[in-house]
Symmetry: none
Subunit: 218 residues, 4 copies
Amino acid sequence: MKRKRDLRKQEILQAALDVFGRTDFQRACISEIARKAKISEGTIYFYFKNKEDLFFSIPAQKIEEFCEGLEFHLQGIQDAPGKLTKMIWFYLYFFKTNPVYARILMLEMSVSKRFSKSITFDRIPVFTDRILEIVREGQEKGFFRKDLDGCLVRDILLSFLEYRVTRWLLNEESYELLENYGEIFDFIQETQRPCRQGIFSFEGLGIPSTVSSFKPPQ
Amino acid sequence: MKRKRDLRKQEILQAALDVFGRTDFQRACISEIARKAKISEGTIYFYFKNKEDLFFSIPAQKIEEFCEGLEFHLQGIQDAPGKLTKMIWFYLYFFKTNPVYARILMLEMSVSKRFSKSITFDRIPVFTDRILEIVREGQEKGFFRKDLDGCLVRDILLSFLEYRVTRWLLNEESYELLENYGEIFDFIQETQRPCRQGIFSFEGLGIPSTVSSFKPPQ
Amino acid sequence: MKRKRDLRKQEILQAALDVFGRTDFQRACISEIARKAKISEGTIYFYFKNKEDLFFSIPAQKIEEFCEGLEFHLQGIQDAPGKLTKMIWFYLYFFKTNPVYARILMLEMSVSKRFSKSITFDRIPVFTDRILEIVREGQEKGFFRKDLDGCLVRDILLSFLEYRVTRWLLNEESYELLENYGEIFDFIQETQRPCRQGIFSFEGLGIPSTVSSFKPPQ
Amino acid sequence: MKRKRDLRKQEILQAALDVFGRTDFQRACISEIARKAKISEGTIYFYFKNKEDLFFSIPAQKIEEFCEGLEFHLQGIQDAPGKLTKMIWFYLYFFKTNPVYARILMLEMSVSKRFSKSITFDRIPVFTDRILEIVREGQEKGFFRKDLDGCLVRDILLSFLEYRVTRWLLNEESYELLENYGEIFDFIQETQRPCRQGIFSFEGLGIPSTVSSFKPPQ
DNA sequence: TATGAATGAGCGTTCATTCAT
DNA sequence: AATGAATGAACGCTCATTCAT
């Protein structure tokens, strides 16, 4: 009967995703999740330790989905640049098609000390390593600049991807997340001429680019 | 007596910074801020519309501080690479020396839809533009790669800086934020040989690199 | 306005006595106390830290009442036996006329580790010392046996008084608490003949005498 | 298979003693008792009507233990003073060596109206009668004062014993319960000279002597 | 301007008990 | 005999905000 237990757990997690997705952690309430899952409130506490435990358990299922989807899309691609492009595309595509989860992950979990210490966080597999692997492969095969440290490249890519998804969410998903995703790894390629000046920019979209964007006093 | 009013407002904001800095927005409470500021709770509502208004008013004073500090440090530096290095250094240095504000800005405001729509957010001067200006100057003078779009470069720099500060905060400020800050703009420079492979990396510090770090299923 | 504050506190305590008196601590609920006191629930928390604090604050007012009443009744009595008799009478009389408070004190507080560590408990003045004083006075003047330790006598008296009140409460206050109160200090008097065999006993009342009353196995 | 049923019942009662002994009735929970007894929660309800029934069933086994132990220790003692001393010693010794049970009996059951009406309570054998028997025997043989009513003496002894155990428990069992137990029946003996003034007293131990200890206002 | 008492809605969590299997 | 998933009522406590003074 392990099966049944897992099934019930999934039902609760699905209801939780719905409810947590609509508002923030604090405002979401257990009673609504229970109602959505068609069970009593007490039952939730049979499957999860508390509200936070339930919240932090949401990513687990989504991570699997992400990884399966990623490997599916990488099939058959041979060259490193192709793989990296695909990864970037899939990353953005995944969050575009899972905006509710994106909101939870990017605007709540990614910023939570408690999540960064939770079991779920530790169990998050290293998507990172996959990127690093491909970056190094690309460097060895002569596709990418060899003078940039692989880990630095990986971190730049990840931070920029997170940044783009976060901006998109804060702007009510009002524009196309997948626009211009190709330019993202221009910087790891050998210098090309002529440059693609002006192609990639948020400015044309009227989006304030970052929290850190201060205007100096005149 | 406009003077006195502003003074009192600053006192409240200082108390608010203390209190909001210690825990998150929800948990912080007005009564404690009032106690810290040595006024009654009711008085706070004379100076600020509500709790959120008070919260979102905190950055304003800090932004001025940041900008003044930045301009001060940029004095006398002529070349674009020098300026950019200084900016990166100062950005990290500022948050290192203002960790409480860093927490509020990076882990709460930067992720809040309501803040991104608030008056305070709009009044944030474009630090961004300063970076873009220097990047373009560097490209024109031949210091930086010309084939990368200036806005892209700016956004990569900003996202990576935010990323580093955020990681540092989530890891309880347990390591040196200013370590290896120079490598950050390697990527905008022309390819160099020999490469500085391995110098910059979070890995050596045992820091989980990002929320998005998934391990692919084997 | 200190006056008003104290007044309000007393109102809440009165309502609390009513409600806590009816059932036990766990079952009593704040909402009912608030209703009784005609205030909102939140207000209770303005005057008391929490439910337990409110509960443990009840004795304070009653203790004053007790002490004032005691001193009032002791007025004009000169001899130690007369004083002691009066004290015993007043003790029983007080709880007879304050059965609700008696229940709270004897069946809940007197058995609570947390109460025995609470501030209220520490502030309970030493009624004990008054007894000891009178016992010693009676010994010196030759009214009471000199060979019994004063503290022992005091503790025997106190434990027996508590015992009688407790029994009375557990038996639904179904008999007269003040019956035979005089015999209680027979034991401190010099041996008298003829003895008053059989006068004082719970047995005639059909009251199980104590928790510790075991029947030996036949 | 009546045998097996009783065995299982005993296992549950043992687990219940462990759990109820650690905290109070309200806080103790069935699930923990089930875990301790290595059975499921539902099974407990096969053996006991409900939580309270289980709780009130605990003394039965302990009472037998007590009575057997008492009779064992009384063997061979001829004189009434010797028997009474032994009883007092054993009473204190028993609770000293069964502190968990002591807590349940003295701080919870002895104060519960529902227990004083429960079947278990009625089945408690009259330890009382044994004391009364010995007291009267001592009086007839001329060992004890004849002018004190036997029932009064019995009740004084019982209340004082309960009192000492209760104080000891409330003080976290931090001192020696068996200290000075001999003085307890000084009062039933004929007046002796010289007196043993000061030998028995709680004061030297720094123990607050009773809940009822009020200090009179000066 | 400033106070601070009062509000009152809102929600997470517990756990004894049941009952289908 | 035994299980253990499911129930669901019940309640203490918080705290931003208001408003009479």
